[in-house]
């Protein structure tokens, strides 16, 4: 029978790109964020080079997972709101503010939306911060956060390999390896690994292509 309201089964099998692996890690001086690059509509890969690391402000990014349409629309709305707020304040906005704006929207429209977002960035007051806003609209700060359909496969890896006080390079290696493992096991994740470092100095982006991904033992 045809369902209206929140037809979740229709949602996932219809023409809406879903599926992802995203991650963010705090370090002294900033954050490292990463994501895979695959968006799928059913079994077809609609975009194999997606950029899921979306700038919200100069030193604030969000990692998007869930429905591409929903997360793009939310990110555009929050970018506008935060830009307006920043001009009013005449100051760089706080990462917590950006995360709160995401939370407001994701919680208010929780029945209509399918969006799992990780907000990460650097501000002068509290340095590097990672806030996770999963499906449902909760918001919490975490030193390391993973999201998307591929995240299920790497909770063990992340919990066992994360150490507080890692350097920027260690965080990059940690993120790249974790995402590689997730992409290996999750059908809805794949393509390239996109990484970004957000710090006081600004944003450094990099891409790790398929053949350059870290290799693990193939069993």
């Amino acid at each position: 029978s045809l369902q209206f309201g929140t037809p979740r089964s229709v949602f996932i099998t219809s023409l809406i790109p879903v599926g992802t692996s995203i991650m963010a890690v705090e370090f002294e001086g900033g954050v490292v964020i990463g994501a895979d690059s695959r968006t799928t509509t059913g079994a077809y890969i609609a975009n194999r080079v997606t950029d899921k690391l979306t700038p919200i402000h100069e030193r604030i990014f969000c990692c998007r997972s869930g429905s591409a349409a929903d997360t793009q629309a939310i990110a555009d709305a929050v970018t506008y709101q935060l830009g307006f707020h920043s001009i009013e304040l005449d100051e760089a906005p706080l990462v917590q503010t950006a995360a709160s704006l995401f939370r407001e929207m994701c919680y208010r429209y929780r029945e209509e939306l399918m969006a799992g977002i990780i907000v990460a960035g650097w501000d002068p007051r509290r340095g590097g911060q990672v806030y996770t806003v999963p499906v449902g609209g909760m918001m919490t700060r975490q030193p390391v956060s993973v999201g998307g359909s591929g995240s299920s496969y790497i909770y063990g890896y992340v919990d066992s390999n994360y150490r507080a006080g890692m350097s920027k390079e260690e965080c990059l290696k940690f993120t790249a390896e974790a995402l590689t493992l997730a992409m290996e096991r999750d059908g809805s994740s794949g393509g390239v690994v996109r990484l970004a470092v957000v710090s006081e100095q600004g944003v450094e982006r990099q891409v790790i292509l398929g053949n350059q991904l870290p290799k693990f033992s193939t069993v």
Binding site: F4, I16, P17
Partner: protein, 277 residues
């Protein structure tokens, strides 16, 4: 003691009030053995490619109503602005109306800014409208054009997500067309090479997908010039009948002939020309 909560009525936006009723009617009609008329979908293969000097958009020309071809030569490349065109797949009415609405709004916007419209603006307007309708407007679009920022290509899905890419395909024949692109796409191609690639991608859709067919339309957009090539390639010519069904006079023998003149008087004769200026 109960508190009464008043339902807030939404102002504006799409009204989904009739959806349950429509579903029940659909079920009732099916029980009687009939089927309700299907929306005309464009089946379709559409694609676009960014090349050295601009973008090339391509589309087939078949519009289907279920398993019947409703239009053998429909135009799927829609005008948005002098420098921006949009291919449409999905529900024919939705792609037609959506592109016209955005084209109209973009012209007004362009007059307000005093500038040539940007592809990114058209993309923003389209995605925000489609998201607002939550996927009920079945328009899957390939938007391409050249503006002050350079050549750009976007694919836009019915739910409102967009991707900015160097080559895109949409529609039921998109997998066939994408196979051609993934094999032969190179960055910074020359115009002839790009046109050949798009032509071949649409041809792959036409010959391998039942929902696509007939001719190949192309639209080449460069800085300051648009070549709307319709048709660029008549891939499917109507066959010539090998038999002749004309019969000579006298083939059928006449047994009897009765002529009855009808006496009609011309009462009044007036000619009114329509003002077609």
């Amino acid at each position: 003691m109960a508190t009464v909560s008043v339902r807030q009525y939404h102002r504006g936006g799409f009204s989904f009030e009739n959806c349950k009723r429509n579903a029940l009617l659909e079920a009732d009609i099916n029980k009687l053995g009939f089927s309700s008329p299907a929306a005309r979908k464009t089946g379709t293969t559409i694609c676009g490619v960014v090349y050295k000097d601009g973008v090339v958009l391509g589309a087939d020309t078949r519009a289907t109503e279920g398993m019947v071809v409703a239009d053998k030569n429909c135009s799927k490349i829609h005008y948005i602005s002098p420098n921006v065109y949009c291919c449409g797949a999905g529900t024919a009415a939705d792609t037609e109306m959506t592109t016209q609405i955005i084209s109209s709004n973009l012209e007004l916007h362009s007059l307000s800014t005093g500038r040539l419209p940007r592809v990114a603006t058209a993309n923003r307007m389209l995605k925000q409208m489609l998201f607002r309708y939550q996927g009920y407007i079945g328009a899957a679009l390939v938007l391409g054009g050249v503006d002050s920022t350079g050549p750009q290509l976007y694919s836009i899905y019915p739910h409102g997500s967009t991707d900015k890419l160097p080559y895109v395909t949409m529609g039921s024949g998109s997998l066939a067309a994408m196979a051609v692109f993934e094999d032969r796409y190179k960055p910074n191609m020359e115009e002839e090479e790009a046109k050949r690639l798009v032509r071949d991608a649409i041809a792959a859709g036409i010959f391998n997908d039942l929902g696509s067919g007939s001719n190949i339309d192309l639209c080449v957009i460069t800085k300051g010039k648009v070549d709307y090539l319709r048709p660029h390639d008549v891939a499917n010519k109507k066959g010539v009948r090998t038999g002749n069904y004309r019969y000579k006079h006298g083939t059928t023998g006449v047994l009897t002939k009765a002529v009855t003149p009808l006496n009609l008087e011309v009462v009044e004769e007036s000619v009114q020309t329509m003002d077609t200026s």
